[in-house]
Symmetry: C2
Subunit: 390 residues, 2 copies
């Protein structure tokens, strides 16, 4: 097994859409390589002071949904992951419970955090042990430790981390250093700088044989619990297990500063704007128009489906960007009904009406497509319900 | 002089607006501490492969303007900086010349880059030396080296770097490490992890006594020219100058990946959306309405001015977000004239018309303000010229 991959450096937006390539394609051939129990511990008890916001960053909302819910979803969609233990501060327990209910998370167990990152992770691990408080979860063979604030984790990379951990005892994601690392003297002067090529930034996720990381934490000193941050180092010091370092994609980045929330929002908006569904009705003219529109939107990079009614659209995919076409000026009752249906879907878009002037067909169709794409991508509530012109 | 500042960790958006606090306030007291020549070298010859884009990231456009132009502007607005030497690849020379003309950059000299970062920086330094090709610039006492892809550099921090370099010979910006740094074995396993507190990420800008960094480059080995990246290290190795490390704000971050372009755009959009100017005309009713609107927009966090005509608005500030109020339904010729004036300003907004229904005055005024703020912040060309309703 290769331990060092060449970084693909694809734009992060693209990386969102290569899910399920690893294990699922293996599964169809009847040989998914993960034939042992796997669980996740997600420390989320931090205060997120570096964003400069009052809300810890894992609970900041991105197009209406807390960041941590995206991260949990990324694990829940992987069928070979059994449990996700989310470790939160006591004061966030109710908020976390609400998030689990609202977004139908089914694999999550909440555990109370400790005063430091290491204490929180250990609390998470205890949920699988006889020592843990409350109902015990099945002990996994491999446990993945990740950050709640790294939502863009893909199944193919989780598979690599999991298999490497199972084989070597421990594994961790690394990335090339973006900046040179320097050592400072006590007085604040340059002591020396590190040779960039020899060093890597240690990222998340990391994978461990459960018994190894559990033992490492049992032997952890108070000083390590207090000041340490690196799980791989604990496995090395206390169990003699040297982790395999695997280069991960750039999308593994950690939401740290407020600007990172903007980036995360852009990635998520891009991912939910990939597809749209045109509701044509039964009229031949709108069905004809929908073919034009479909081609126009596909030229803008969207994947587009056209169906006669919204019920069919809803049942056919998880896409929630609906475009209702009508050749008549819409009656207000009709718009009202459509808006109500939109609002009932959890990730519903803000509704708009675009009136189309059929003169200068080609130019206006281009304008119509541009506006539709912009409305879907921007998701700006301020213009909700406006009547626009193409 | 303090060498280690506590990081303020204010959100980056806020940091954009604290310009000119350092030297200018000193100047008003008649004692600007920079009484020696200062120049900047801006290496911009990289290909920017990490963004996954075909355009090098320093030339990527952010709301229509190349990233490097924002960075140059950040230096040009500092009156005690004399020259900015921009080092670009041969194939980007014409593009760079166009940018200088289009955005009226006045302190810039273009120099051709070398095959590596260090060679490019040295080429930049040679522009001040007898050895350089073409017209020689005045040799500075202190030279600041920065990255073209770090546009959010503030005068107060440049002042710190410059004064420290003048005193100690060299100075450099550092930031706390976001990730633990690990050393890998040749086989790709964890060798050891570094104690995070002892190390810092070396960022830009860095400042040097010109003669020191020039001498350091003269003694640079071929291997250093080829594989090195760290200017501070050269000054230490070849001149025995240990740089002062100064903790910089988080806004110093380097645009590296595509997601960073999104963040940079958000910061710049925020900064150009801070203020707006309402054009009231002479009619008492619109002037009255403008007072309402001004209060509404200020409640949304904007700084708002109201003037009778656009000429006054243009002469009074550098703000280019104009709102023309009218109580009559606009005539198309009137809208046309206004749109033309908007287009003539370089950073002009896309024009929109919002028709206001005066019933339910308070609710609609809130909606009007929300829409106006959203139009200014989003700057989306797709809806340009639309007639909206509040």
């Amino acid at each position: 097994m290769e331990t060092h991959e060449t970084s693909s450096e694809r734009p992060v937006e693209r990386q969102l859409h290569v899910t399920n390539e690893g294990c699922l394609s293996e599964l169809t051939k009847g040989r998914c390589p993960v034939n042992f129990p796997v669980a996740v511990v997600l420390p989320a008890a931090g205060s997120g002071e570096r964003t400069g916001l009052s809300t810890p960053k894992q609970f900041c909302k991105i197009i209406g949904r807390p960041l941590i819910s995206y991260t949990i979803h990324a694990f829940e969609r992987v069928f070979w992951i059994d449990n996700v233990v989310v470790v939160v501060a006591k004061e966030s327990h109710d908020l976390m419970t609400d998030i689990i209910h609202k977004y139908n998370h089914t694999k999550v167990k909440i555990v109370e955090g400790g005063s430091t990152r290491h204490r929180s992770i250990f609390n998470g691990l205890l949920a699988f042990s006889e020592q843990g408080v409350g109902s015990k979860l099945q002990k996994p063979k491999v446990v993945i430790i990740h950050d709640a604030v790294r939502p863009f984790i893909e199944e193919d990379f989780l598979l690599k981390i999991t298999l490497a951990a199972n084989k070597q005892g421990a594994s961790g994601a690394v990335r090339p250093l973006v900046s040179t690392v320097v050592a400072a003297t006590a007085g604040g002067y340059l002591d020396h700088s590190l040779e960039r090529a020899r060093y890597k930034a240690s990222e998340m996720p990391q994978g461990f044989i459960y018994d190894i990381i559990y033992k490492a934490y049992q032997h952890c000193s108070e000083a390590e619990f207090e000041f340490g941050t690196e799980c791989l180092e604990l496995a090395r010091q206390h169990c003699g297990t040297s982790a395999v370092l695997i280069e991960g994609p750039s999308s593994l980045w950690k939401v740290t500063y407020q600007r990172d929330l903007t980036s995360a929002e852009a990635v998520i908006k891009e991912s939910v704007s990939q597809s749209a569904c045109i509701i044509t009705g039964e009229c031949a003219e709108t069905q004809n128009l929908s073919t034009w529109m479909k081609n126009g939107l596909m030229a803008e990079g969207m994947w587009v489906d056209a169906v006669p009614n919204i019920e069919q659209g809803m049942s056919r995919s998880t896409n929630r960007n609906f475009i209702k076409l009508s050749v008549n000026s819409p009656k207000s009752v009709e718009i009202g009904e459509f808006m109500k249906m939109c609002e009932e879907t959890k990730d519903g878009l803000y509704p708009f009406v675009i009136l189309w002037d059929s003169s200068e067909r080609e130019r206006r169709m281009n304008k119509l497509c541009q506006m539709t794409v912009a409305l879907i991508r921007d998701r700006n509530a301020a213009f909700s319900g406006q009547i626009l012109y193409a």
